[in-house]
């Protein structure tokens, strides 16, 4: 069992409240996943400053300061680092591919858990409410955020196993459920040159979507292809720098509820995570239908 929350803001006056709203949503889903958590924020001016790429790493052998110093020397531009242990957030005024490659070399053994220009991914082990407080989530700002509370069942309680999985630029995928044919999909993707970080089933879904998007498919088409390709149980929340999407498998035993107003679109595993959103009383509230792809664009 895991908990998913996501908030896509349409009304700019709410951007300063993104972190506060997402923290409250995440807190309501702790019962569903009390052992670890991950969050992703789009558009926070401090975590993902304008004109910079942002790369987040998990379990870096170097401190944020050491890593920033080493990368500044390596790249010849000012690289800054923020310590959000066990996550390190790096910024530099270069393309994200350059920063990602340099970080991968400088912080050997660390895992890249997010990269792009808008997106910051943070993960940790422990009570999700305490994690949110420790990383300063309540003060985060931005236009879109997703969160995941995990109850580890198929692998150890580690930050690595926390969602969201972010394997494409500014992309995130959060999964409640378990794929059943992911190994065969993984082998096909590996034959096509896709490289994996883990044995996790959700990573296969994220790599599949990232590959579809990289090949030019829109998010809706990518998720329809996922429906065709994957078996098993899944409620997925997928986000990009432009979009926010939800899809469920044909059986739809993993819960999902969506609320929509003119100011925002929100999705969660359960209604109680949405109950305190501003204007919820006037929201259109519905459960996503099996195998329907729901996409909202910025």
């Amino acid at each position: 069992m895991c908990g998913i929350v996501g908030l896509h803001l349409r009304e700019a006056t709410l951007y300063p409240r993104l972190g506060e709203l997402l923290t409250a949503m995440l807190g309501e889903m702790v019962d569903r996943g009390p052992d670890s958590a991950g969050i992703a924020i789009y558009g926070d001016g401090i975590w993902s400053p304008d004109g910079h790429s942002t790369v987040t790493l998990l379990d870096s052998p170097l401190s944020a300061t050491e890593l920033a110093t080493a990368l500044t020397a390596e790249l010849g531009v000012a690289v800054s680092g923020i310590d959000k242990s066990p996550t390190t957030v790096l910024h530099a005024p270069v393309d994200y591919e350059i920063l990602t490659a340099a970080a991968r070399t400088a912080a050997a053994g660390a895992r890249i858990i997010g990269f792009g220009s808008e997106l910051t991914v943070l993960k940790g082990v422990g009570d999700p409410r305490e994690l949110a407080s420790a990383i300063g989530l309540p003060k985060a700002t931005g236009w879109q955020g997703v969160g995941h509370t995990r109850m580890a069942t198929e692998s150890a309680v580690t930050a690595t196993g926390s969602h969201p999985f972010s394997v494409g630029p500014d992309q995130c995928l959060v999964h409640n459920g378990s794929f059943s044919n992911h190994m065969s999909v993984k082998h096909e993707l590996e034959r096509e040159g896709v490289v994996f970080d883990s044995e996790n089933d959700t990573e296969v879904g994220a790599r599949f979507v990232a590959k579809q998007l990289a090949e030019g498919a829109g998010l809706e088409k990518a998720l329809l292809a996922l429906n065709e390709t994957f078996d098993g149980f899944y409620t997925l929340l997928v986000s990009t720098a432009e979009s926010f999407a939800v899809v469920r498998d044909a059986i739809s035993c993993k819960p999902a509820i969506i609320a929509e107003t003119t100011d925002w679109v929100a999705m969660a595993s359960e209604y109680r995570a949405l109950a305190n959103l501003p204007g919820i009383g006037a929201a259109r509230i519905f459960e996503p239908e099996p195998e329907e792809v729901y996409v909202w664009h910025r």
Partner: protein, 232 residues
Amino acid sequence: MAPVATTPAVTIDLSTSSIRQINELLASPDAPQALTITNPRGAHALACGLDAELEVTIDGHVGYYCAGMNQHATVTVNGNAGVGVAENMMSGSVRITGDASQSAGATAHGGLLIIEGNAAARCGISMKGVDIVVGGDIGHMSAFMGQAGRLVVCGNAGEALGDSLYEARIYVRGKVASLGADCVEKSMRGEHLAELKELLDAAGVDADPTEFTRYGSARNLYNFHVDNASAY
């Protein structure tokens, strides 16, 4: 003539009380005859396990298993309900003015469950005697292995309706996406029109019984063949 004893209406705000406090009060001999619960905000297991002729009104959306195992009580939710509303109900009635999530009325043995909006997948799964009236649509795999009771759907039904049905009867006014294994359309005789009218009236739904189609078990699966009894 002595004045009729009336119990003053009691209201409890869930933003300042715990679910356990409310459920303990409802299960106690001092339970108020009528209780209104405000600010449920999707809380789980509200008004569960009631066993008296109480009237409970919940103003707002509720979470999982609301009014589960209900006996005798009348529970009204002015909002939506999460997974498994009125699951294993034995008697009494539960009304949801909005939509219900999956497995509404699962395994319920008796009573009346009314969902004025839509019900999601597996509505009435393994129903064992409950009557369920849905004002809108129902999702896939509804009434799966339904053993007894009636399921009335004023809108459309999703895929695999009534799969592996025993004796439960299903009435659908709209379209059925597909019938499950061994579920077939059946004729509407006078007794069916009469029982459907009774159910619609009990639910307070204004619909014409003649617009509905009846579905039930074809009784062709393994357990319906007497020859298989020799296997034991």
